[in-house]
């Protein structure tokens, strides 16, 4: 009996210690933000800290709302699914507002715009988007022009969805004989950085990715460049996403965002990471 009581006591003490760990020391509520920290300059790791435009804006918003910002670094796909399923309070990862995404999550006002660009190796025969895709009358890519070209993207990003719409065949390459396009012509990597390193070792012929991370990648890697003048085809709005129907949080975020825009904080953060002179970083 003594033994039993002592076990119970130990358990109680252990539990209360755990409970104490969970308590907020400053009484603030957590604001959990999901991101994919391999997308400079919006979010990237500096040492073990996640920094970047999104991280700083989120911190400013949390500050306005009187909440504690907690950043979770997960796959880009997991950011979207996690927010849609309510696992995270909000998602901020250079997320483009699309019609499909609007169906399953709510978006805040936009805080930045992005454009999709093409990165190629120096001396690549690809000089424009027309060298990669064939387009229909609406300007959507419907096929790959040259079935030998491989396009590298980060999985589940707008670059992936855009490129994938050009791929209609079956996976087994030859199962559908009249399909000249093989589905493995779009190679989807976990991060943009992996796609770029695949480009450098000729595993893919071009990488389609958002403009700003593309600039960072080109600045830190030799022998690759962004195709100039070929980046106007997909202008996108970045916004914060929250679980569908969470209008209370969304209103608060929108209000904080409006305040931060008004007092110039957003501009200041953006300018800090993206120099106005055209990104000669």
């Amino acid at each position: 009996m003594k033994k039993f009581i002592s076990i119970i006591l130990v358990l109680v003490i252990a539990l209360s210690v755990f409970a104490a760990c969970g308590q907020k020391t400053d009484g603030k509520e957590d604001l959990v933000m999901a991101t994919n920290a391999a997308f400079p300059p919006y979010e990237f790791k500096e040492g073990d800290k996640i920094v970047g435009i999104d991280a700083e804006i989120a911190a400013a918003i949390a500050d306005k709302l009187g909440m504690n910002l907690v950043i979770e670094d997960v796959d880009f796909g997991a950011v979207l699914t996690g927010v849609a399923e309510g696992k995270y309070d909000m998602g901020m990862a250079g997320i483009t507002v699309t019609e499909d995404r609007k169906k399953t999550m709510d978006f805040s006002d936009t805080y930045a715009t992005g454009i999709q660009v093409i990165i190629v190796k120096d001396g690549s025969p690809i000089t424009s988007l027309d060298d990669i895709f064939e387009f229909n009358a609406d300007g959507d890519p419907v096929a790959l022009k040259n079935p030998d070209i491989k396009v590298g993207v980060q999985e589940n990003t707008t670059g992936d969805i855009y490129s994938s719409s050009a791929i209609t065949g079956w996976g087994f390459n030859d199962l559908n004989e009249d399909e000249s396009v093989k589905t493995d012509r779009v190679v989807r990597y976990k991060t943009g950085a992996e796609a770029v390193s695949a480009l450098k070792s000729d595993k893919v012929d071009c990488v389609i990715i958002d403009n700003e991370p593309a600039k960072s990648f080109v600045a830190t890697n030799e022998g690759i460049h962004i195709l100039e003048g070929e980046n106007e085809y997909a202008v996108e709005d970045y916004a914060i996403c929250v679980k569908k129907g969470d209008s209370e949080l969304l209103t608060k975020i929108n209000k904080a965002l409006a305040d931060l825009k008004a007092d110039g904080t957003v501009d200041k953060i953006v300018n800090k990471y993206i120099p106005k002179d055209g990104g000669a970083q």
């Binding site: 880009f76 796909g77 399923e85 995404r101 999550m105 999985e155 989807r188």
Partner: protein, 254 residues
């Protein structure tokens, strides 16, 4: 059609939600094709990696067990064969240490980005990477099986006039095969599931197919459960086949 319509009219809301989820995740935009493609690639990688693994495993197990079994007698002769075997055995040991000492994802990425840096066929790279990985485990399973056979069996073979190789083929290997089958089956199951990291090098395998659907529909339940069920079904079928084989082999025991 009338019948089905009336069923969905009276169905509980959660079931209707399930139906909508199912249609969104698998039917819309032909998303089920992702899963078929992924399943195909998973099976392709597993099958060929298994074959490569078996070949590597048999060769290495042969070298290692021959060395272990004959070391003492060969040490006395100190012939050329002894030194050759010693070197080859050392290389095999190094291979086992490196392969079993590093995670398969790391090996896959090394293969993809460094060893086969110029290859564009990621499926081929994955098959080789998983094959080389599996070979190490198969080798040790086989060696364990050979070493577990009683030495009296060898001695009996030798006293019947068989040489070392003949003893192996006619007396030892048949017993080994029966003994290692469950463990080997285990290794194949592990291999099948390990291929789920192939997505790291841009291959659309079954897991990645689920991820891609998830990233486009933003619902977690349907794609993940579907992928899990497909893996489960494959393993159940594989296990059933192996136990059928085991039963047949056991017939000779009585």
């Amino acid at each position: 059609m009338v019948l089905t319509n009336s069923f969905w009219d009276t169905a509980p809301p959660w079931l209707i939600k399930m139906k909508e989820d199912f249609i969104l995740n698998f039917v819309d935009a032909g998303r089920w094709k992702w899963l078929v493609e992924g399943l195909g690639n998973t099976l392709l990688i597993t099958l060929f990696a298994l074959l490569i693994g078996l070949v590597i495993g048999v060769v290495i197990a042969a070298v290692r067990s021959t060395y272990d079994k004959n070391r003492e007698s060969m040490e006395m002769q100190k012939g050329f064969g002894y030194y050759l075997l010693k070197i080859v055995n050392g290389i095999c040991n190094l291979y086992l240490t490196v392969i079993r000492g590093t995670p398969v994802v790391v090996q896959l990425l090394i293969m993809y980005f460094i060893v086969f840096a110029s290859s564009r066929d990621s499926l081929m790279v994955a098959i080789i990477a998983f094959g080389i990985n599996s070979g190490a485990y198969v080798a040790e399973i086989l060696r364990g099986g050979i070493m577990s056979i009683d030495n009296g069996q060898f001695e009996a073979g030798r006293s019947l006039g068989f040489n070392y190789v003949q003893t192996m083929i006619h007396i030892i290997i048949p017993q080994v095969f029966k003994n290692v089958l469950p463990t080997l089956c285990n290794e194949f199951i592990v291999l099948l599931k390990e291929t789920s990291v192939a997505g790291y090098v841009g291959i659309v395998d079954l897991t990645k197919a689920g991820d891609l659907i998830r990233g486009r529909t933003f619902s977690a339940f349907m794609p993940l459960i579907a992928v899990a069920l497909i893996y489960l079904a494959m393993v159940v079928i594989l296990t059933a086949l192996v136990s059928a084989l085991e039963r047949r082999l056991r017939k000779s025991e009585r």
